[in-house]
Every structure is written in C-alpha cells, then in structure tokens.
Symmetry: C2
C-alpha cells in the first residue's frame, strides 16, 4: 500500500494560488464563514479553513449566530453578508438548526459567491458538467488528488459509495466529466463488495468507520477515503479499514491527512476563482 497524502496536493494548489493572487486586481479576496451555534464539528472545520486561508494569503471573516436565531433574523443577516461587495465568497456551515429554512438559504446565496456549491444554479451546473459552476469542495478535492498524482480517470471503472449532495452525487458527476464509468452505490446496494472489487477507482463516502475491508478492493486500485469518523478509542478514522490494506498493492488516501487536507485548499481555490469572475464582470 502506498499513501496518497493530501499535503503535497494542497501545497501545489497553494503555489497556484500565490501566482493567481499576484495577478488579481482589487483587494485580497475575502471569505465569509457563517456559523450558527457552537457545534464542535463546525468549529473544527472553521478553524482549519481559517488557518488555510491565512496560509494562502487570503482574508477571512467569521460570522457567528446563536443557535436559536429565528429564520427571519438569520435570513436578514445572511442577505447582508451575501450582498456585501467586500465579501468575495461564502462558506455556510451546515446543517443549520431546524428553525432555519435551509432550502431558502440555498436559493438566496449568490451563485458567484457560493464556494461550496449549495445554490441550485451551481448544482445544475455540476450535474450538467458545466465547469463554470462551483462543486462542493470535498467532491472536487477528490479529483484534485487524482490529478495531482497523475492518476488517469478516463475510461476507468469508478465506484462511489454514498449518494449525498455533498460528496457522492456531485463527485459522481465530476468523475463522469473526466470520462470514468461511474457506479453509484448506497445503503440499498446489493453485492457491494463485488461492485467495489470491480472498481479501479473506489471512493468511500458512506460515513461508516472501517466499512471497506481488504477483501473489497482489487489489486492496483486507487482508494479514496472521504469518511471522517471516530472509532471506539476516540480516534479519527475513515470509511476504509486502513490497517488491513497494509500489505496490498494499492493507493490509499489516509484519514486524517488525505482528502480533508485538500478540501480547504479547494475552498481557497474557489475563493480566488470567485474573485477573478467578479473582476471579469
């Protein structure tokens, strides 16, 4: 087994970003992170996003709202940030508390600032293969890892375990755009191990610790682990049982240090792309 680490991929995006930032007109792009409540997952992702933006020489401002904020109040505050010309891009930490109508926020967000691809406009673009839309950062991070490692996608059999709107579905579309033959698997899939064994590129995005076992993976496969779980010892782990893969001939992204490390780099990339489109408009 060889590990496909996220750090070099992130470093390459950072180099690209440094060049891009130099060529941008106007102020340094600014990311607005919007958080409602104090969920540990949100705060942990927020910290790593802030750190990454600063490392990339980008600006970031966090907006925090109490978890019991009303739908109306939140929408008003959200719209203010959304319309603020000083805000280049937005990262909204989700899911939002129940009282807030998330679908309506998705419809409100300016597609040009929607760095994580939650607006119907961007969803439709990703579905139709239009590269002018923002895909969810995690889904795009998978493609970045494959490309940075010169792993050809064209004509490959790919299996994606998971059909969420954050990873499984958009990633399937991104793989399809690169001309993979994609099988979308989920909890109702029968013969999942067999389908995984047929995959040359296997993406685990089920959110189930260690579910992909050694016997599910074929020799020479590229295995991308998008899962972020906590095991029985309180340790972070992926959807792939990494220990069982040690002696196998395959490539695997570790958790932590794999896809997660690239996701915030893609967020930075999207922020720069958003700034560039603003200038072009």
């Amino acid at each position: 087994m060889e590990l496909l680490k996220g750090a070099p991929v992130s470093a390459a995006i950072r180099e690209w970003a440094a060049e891009e930032i130099k060529q941008l007109q106007g102020p340094v792009p600014k990311l607005a992170i919007i958080r409602v409540g104090e969920k540990p997952d949100d705060m942990s992702y927020e910290r790593s996003a802030v750190k990454k933006m600063e490392a990339f020489g980008l600006r970031v401002q966090t907006f925090v709202f109490p978890k019991d904020i009303s739908d109306e109040e939140f929408k008003e505050a959200f719209q203010k940030i959304n319309k603020d010309p000083a805000v280049t891009g937005i990262l909204l930490l989700r899911p939002l508390p129940e009282q807030i109508k998330e679908k309506e926020i998705e419809a409100m967000i300016d597609p040009g600032k929607d760095l994580d691809g939650i607006s119907p406009v961007n969803i439709a673009k990703v579905f139709s293969g239009d590269p002018s839309g923002f895909a969810p950062c995690t889904a795009e991070a998978v493609i970045e890892i494959l490309k940075a490692n010169n792993i050809s996608i064209e004509g490959k059999r790919a299996a994606v375990i998971g059909r969420s709107m954050v990873i499984g579905k958009p990633l399937s579309m991104l793989l399809l755009k690169e001309n993979a033959t994609v099988t979308i698997c989920h909890t109702r899939t029968k013969e999942l191990p067999e389908i995984c064994r047929q995959a040359e590129i296997l993406v685990a995005a089920a959110g189930k610790a260690g579910m992909v076992e050694e016997s599910w993976v074929s020799d020479g496969a590229v295995v991308i682990d998008v899962g972020i779980n906590v095991d029985e010892n309180g340790k972070l782990c992926g959807d792939v049982d990494q220990a069982s893969m040690e002696s196998r001939n395959l490539l695997l992204t570790p958790v932590p240090g794999g896809v997660g490390a690239v996701t915030t780099a893609v967020l930075a990339k999207h922020l720069i792309q958003a700034a560039r489109s603003n200038v072009l408009q």
Copy 2:
C-alpha cells in the same frame, strides 16, 4: 422475449389524468408548445404531443417562430408566453438555432411551467431527489413503464448507456431515487457489453441503431430502449437489436410503441401537476 408496450402505460396515466382534471379548479390546463423553424423531428414530436393533449382533454397552443429569428426577438416572445397566466405549462422544442442563447432561455423559464425540466431549478431538484421538480419527460417515462409493469427497482443493478441531460443523467438520478444501484455508461466506457450483462435493468439511450446486441443482455433482464433512430431501410428503430432478442428470456420496450408513447403522456401529467401547483399557490 416479452414486449413492454407503451400504450397501456399511457392509458393508465390517461385514467389518472381524467380524475385529476375533474378535480381541478379554474380553466382546463393549457400547454404552450414553442417551436423555432420547421425541423421534421420537432414537427413530428409536436404532432404527437398535440394529439396526446387533445386525447387527454387538455388544451394546447403551438407558437411557431422563423428559424432566423434574432435572440432578442425570440426572448421577448418567449417571455410573453412564459409570463402569460393563461399558459399552464411550456414545451420548448430543442435544440434552438445557434443564434439563440439557449442557456439564457433555460434560466428564464418559470420552473413551475417547465414541464420538460430544463430550468436549473428543476435540474437541481432532480439531481437532489426532490420530487417537487419536473424531470425531463422521457426520463420519467422510463420510470412510469417500470412501475406500471410492477417491475421492482429497489436494490437492482441498473446500467444506463448515455449521459445526456435529457435522458442519461436525469434517468440515472430517478433510478437512484428508487434505490437502484446505477452505473452510468458512455462512449468512453470500456467493457460495455460486460457492464450491460451485469444489469438487471438496462437502459439504452445512446442514439446508435441496434448497438445493444443479444450477447450484451443477461437472462431475466428488463431492457428499456430509449433510442429513436432510422435504419438503413428508412425504418424507425431503437438502440437495441430487437430481432436478435426474440428467443431470449427478457422484457423489452419496442421502438416505436415503447418509451415514446409514454413520453407525451408524462408531458400531460406534468401539465396537470403544474395546474395543481398553480391552484395551491
């Protein structure tokens, strides 16, 4: 081989429609068909749509524009129809001539009148599995045929040949919503016959006459032929080589008389659904 004909499926939708129309408040729903130019394919589809609406007791009006109409003129005329409260739903025959910016028309169409699912709002809904969106009629016709014939989709291996925004991609999402495990195949797919043989539900939407041969299909499979091609003798034929399937144990939709016959029935269904949502608003 047993044929899955479209006529009984269309008849069942017609029965449903008759009940629904009785319960609708306000005038009988009206479909606006918009055609630019005189392409035989467009005119043939238009004729069958008009016939179907009339058979279902629905109203239809056709708007025809010259094929050299300017983008600006067409948009103005389109917007007038789009905003007309007397128009319940719209069918826009596509592709439009080059001078018309089709993407902009897709963004303009009222999602509530967009019976063939071309608006980004409906595309995003179909992608995310939200049943309040209109899927393209042909894609939905495939699901109608499966359901009307009591063919269970849940947990089945499905292969879709073709990745267009009219059939392949939206149909993959509709099958996924019914909990099939879906493989999306296309021109760059390697080992296509092998993948087809693994499918319990095989959908051919490649637009290539007779490409699916007898050896590609497993016993007991359900084969849905969405292709509409003209063979060397000028006869209408599908993507499946029907003659070679005769002695096989499988279900197959014929061409003509299969999916096509159901597509316009789904259009009528969408028109009634559009009318119903208008009343609810």
